[in-house]
Every structure is written in structure tokens, then in C-alpha cells.
Subunit: 218 residues, 2 copies
């Protein structure tokens, strides 16, 4: 019975996701779904992306959290247009929530909308939210066995950020193994080794990001 | 509609959880539900607990993973009785799965059964699995804002392990803040600062663990 219901939700979700895609195509806004575990560094990476896409592109952020608005406050302090979604216990963001929130942004003033999904390597991967593409983060301290353990996340993302890469020397993490496993289940994936703290690897990643956004906004 | 169905699942789950509790009380086995994010160090901590409870208590492990059996193989190599549960996409373990798996263990030869739940700070907190008590891990690299962001996990656990505590100097992590936030929403919680790698803090934690198990097996 559980499976049947989940399917039904997934079908509604797909319809709603398509509707969001059409709205955003009209408004010329590129939606990027950012996913990863709690503490993978999603907020830090989004702050870097917003900063480095300016002034060419103006970005807003939709912050997803089960509770609280810690990250939204960080965005606000940086002058970034932000809306906080609290899922009140739910482990992922659904397209219905995005559709509800979109009118709260001045979309005509935005080129890019980042959605920071709930910190979770599992459920968010199942739900499309009208995104143009996905970025998944795996931070070095989490360990190098995560592609095998949470395959859907890595099979469905467009970009994979091996984040907190400056911590590599302190952890037993085989980054070649991770890249290889991810490419095995997802041949189109692009893997980047990045530290938001030191800036290492950021340039290559932002180059790819700009190219992807350009293609989507054409 | 989604909410109604989830409630129904939670009710079935509670009935099944009670049944497991009764079975394990008869068999004199203490079930411990171990939860935390991907990469928080659940497997390493369980290996330490099993090793340090021996020879007084014999422990088995039920490994929960969405896919694969990497951790179960680690347990097997250490000679620990282990069963792998693959949830095939599901983000938490339900009591029904535990009930199904229990007969696969020689329960009369065990005193303690650890369940390593799916790496996820969200959904596992909602589902009782017949456990006597819960241990949640939060590792230093994950960041010190997780109690506010994922309150249910910290409100419902008995022990909180601030894990990989030897990494404290490399991260901006206010451990007093975390302990205070956790105690605010869960006055009965016990917080331990532990490194499974160096062994620091392990003795105090194992002392508490032994006391809790003794109480449950009375």
C-alpha cells in the first residue's frame, strides 16, 4: 500500500514539476536543485555561486529546512532575495511547495533560482521540483562509500561537488574511487573537487556552472 | 492525503514496534537504534561498542542500507553476527522489517542488538523499531546548527554522540552550543564527546552505555 501511494504522489509531483518548468521558461529563470547531506556545505557553496555569478546574473535562493531559518538569515544578510520553506518534518521538498512559493519572488528580476533542498542524501533525489539541473554535494568527511550506499542521488545529478576538499589529508577518502563509481552509474555526470573555504577548485566548477546556465537560458 | 497515509503507516509501525519489544524482552535482548547522517561514523562507533561490551555481553548488528552491504562485510570480518537489510530506496527502517529479520538471528546467543539505521537525520526519528533506547550521532564536520535544523532526531534520542571530536580544531563547531540546544529540547539527553579514531571520550560513553543496557536487561 505504501508503494502505491508514493507512486501517486510522484505522479502529481511530476505534473507540478512540468508546470514550474513552463513558468520559469517564460520568465527566463534557471532553477538549480542543490542537494546533499546535513553539513555537506550546501549553504556555503550557494553563497559562493551567487557571488561569482554576479553581476552577469542575478540569483535568488529558496531555503528548504525542516525547521528554522538559520540559512535564510545568512542569505538575507548578503542582500540575496530569499524565501524560507519549512517542511515541518518532511524529508524532501515537493514541486507543490515550489509552485506555491514562486510568486513570492520577483521573478522578472532574477536569472537564477537556487533551491537548497533538505539535508538528506535519500528522498530529495526522488522528487523533481521543476529544476533545470541538479548539483549534489558530497563532503570529504562523509566518507568515500556514499555512491554505493545512496545510488539514486548520484545517478540523477548533473554535477557532483566533492566538497571541503581541503580536508582530504585528514580523512581516509579515495576521491578517484568516488568519481569512478559516480561515472559508472551516471556517465554524463561532471565531478568537481572544491573547497568553498579556500576557493580551490572553484574556478573550474563555476566555469561549468556558467556554461550550463547559459544553455538553459537560451 | 499524504498526511493521512503517513499516520496510518505510523500506527501500524507502533503496533509492530510493541510486538518486537515483547519478543526481545522474552529473549533478554536489548535493541539499540543507532542513527545519524551519512558519514557521521555510525559503523565505526558500533564496532567500538561491540568490542568494548565483550566479553560480558554478546552483540549482533542489523545493518540498514538503501543498497549494498559494505558495512555488513566489515562486521562479518570482525566475527560479529550480522544481517543486512536493504531498503531499496526507502529512507528509514520500519518496525515491520525488524520483525521480519529478527528470526534470522540466534537471539538466545545475543544480549544486545544494534540496528544501524539509514544515514539520514530526518525520517528514521519518526519510526520506532522496538528499540530499548536510541543513540544519535552528530559528527563535528557536519556543523553546529543541526539541532535547530533537525529537531526531532535530537528531541527523541537518549544519547547524543558528538563524533569525530578529534576534528574539532579544524572546524568552526561550538560544541557547547550544540549540547545546550539539545538539552533545551530534550532535558533527559546525555551528550558525549567521542572520537572512535583516537578513543578519546570513549570510556565515559561506554560507562553510560553499560549502565543503560543493564537497566534494560534487568
Amino acid at each position: 500500500m505504501e508503494i502505491k501511494v508514493v507512486r501517486q504522489i510522484l505522479e502529481w509531483n511530476e505534473d507540478c514539476s512540468q508546470e514550474i518548468k513552463e513558468t520559469l521558461r517564460d520568465k527566463k529563470v534557471c532553477l538549480i536543485n542543490v542537494m546533499g547531506s546535513p553539513g555537506a556545505g550546501k549553504t556555503s557553496l550557494i553563497l559562493e555561486m551567487v557571488k561569482r555569478l554576479a553581476p552577469d546574473w542575478r540569483a535568488g535562493v529558496l531555503e528548504g529546512d525542516i525547521a528554522g531559518q538559520i540559512d535564510a538569515e545568512k542569505m538575507k544578510r548578503m542582500g540575496i532575495p530569499v524565501v524560507q520553506l519549512n517542511t515541518d518534518g518532511a524529508c524532501h521538498i515537493e514541486a507543490m511547495s515550489i509552485r506555491h512559493i514562486l510568486p513570492m519572488f520577483a521573478l522578472e528580476e532574477l536569472d537564477v533560482l537556487f533551491v537548497e533542498n533538505i539535508g538528506n542524501l535519500v528522498c530529495p533525489a526522488e522528487f523533481h521540483i521543476g529544476e533545470n539541473f541538479r548539483i549534489a554535494l558530497l563532503s570529504i568527511p562523509e566518507g568515500d562509500d556514499k555512491v554505493e550506499k545512496y545510488p539514486l542521488m548520484f545517478a540523477t545529478t548533473d554535477g557532483l561537488i566533492l566538497h571541503k576538499y581541503d580536508m582530504l589529508e585528514y580523512f581516509d577518502f579515495d576521491d578517484k574511487r568516488v568519481a569512478r563509481s559516480a561515472e559508472d552509474i551516471n556517465p554524463g555526470i561532471r565531478v568537481f573537487r572544491v573547497s568553498s573555504r579556500t576557493g580551490d577548485g572553484m574556478e573550474a566548477f563555476i566555469g561549468w556552472l556558467r556554461q550550463r546556465i547559459s544553455e538553459e537560458l537560451k
